[in-house]
Assembly symmetry: D3
Homo-oligomer: 62 residues x 6
């Protein structure tokens, strides 16, 4: 039943997302939680909507 919510910058490829989902699922399986009980949700965040070091990430890492 666990739910995983990921906040990350938009721009990852479908291959990266797929690989990430598989890797996180494996991490849960390794502690005894079955893949079919897991929901993983990715929030793609534009860099203009991400603040770090007091700035928009779009200004730091354009």
């Amino acid at each position: 039943m666990p739910v995983v919510i990921i906040e990350m910058w938009a721009g990852r490829t479908e291959e990266q997302k797929e690989k990430l989902i598989k890797g996180i699922t494996k991490a849960f399986e390794d502690i005894g939680i079955k893949a079919e009980h897991l929901n993983i949700i990715i929030h793609d965040i534009p860099k203009t909507n991400w603040g770090m070091r007091g700035e928009q990430a779009s200004k730091i890492s354009p």
Copy 2:
């Protein structure tokens, strides 16, 4: 004051969203919380960003 955040697949119609908001509001009213104190927020998640059974939902339920 309660806040409800809903993560679900993108693709629901405006009518479904409206009905869902009304239904959830009623569920809170039934335990004594007024509609004007409630915020409900829907996150539309593309199936490519949703992992289940170790796969992207877009591959399981295209």
Copy 3:
């Protein structure tokens, strides 16, 4: 598959939580989403950790 996360003040009874879970589940069923696909998660928040009108809720509604 939807996930519902609820932020609300700590202090609700078990009966209120049960009723709320049933009511929200019904709201999803009414738009065609089955109860077994739904996860509902309640975060009990102490009033000292809730800010409203620029104050801790513990000071406004002790």
Copy 4:
């Protein structure tokens, strides 16, 4: 290390987002948390996806 997630209506300008990020960062600095340890994430929510007073916000504040 703190993470701040903001849910708000879509439509704020880049200038408003920048100002908000700077202001929140300052609020953390004022309690002794450094800007470089802070991540701030803004979720832009369309009004059709926001429920208040039992309605979609798009109907209350078009």
Copy 5:
């Protein structure tokens, strides 16, 4: 109507929380959002439940 959710290590004092709530509220007021429309929610996270640099924060910063 904005909602702010803060994830941070448990252990902040009531004074720090109050100051943080006031500071964040001011940051929203400075972009034209009124204090009475804002909810701020603090999640106190034990360091054993916080992962950074591949470790529990409790091991890095006991």
Copy 6:
């Protein structure tokens, strides 16, 4: 910079949490994201606060 928030039932051991944090960190490293840019946050949820199949999880899986 990614942030991972995990909602799961309370009751996991420190060893399981540590293993989970390491496994998820590795999943991000495998798509090119460094461990030092990642924050992982675990929310321990009592089963009375988790709804599934229209019931509290405490009633389904005591």
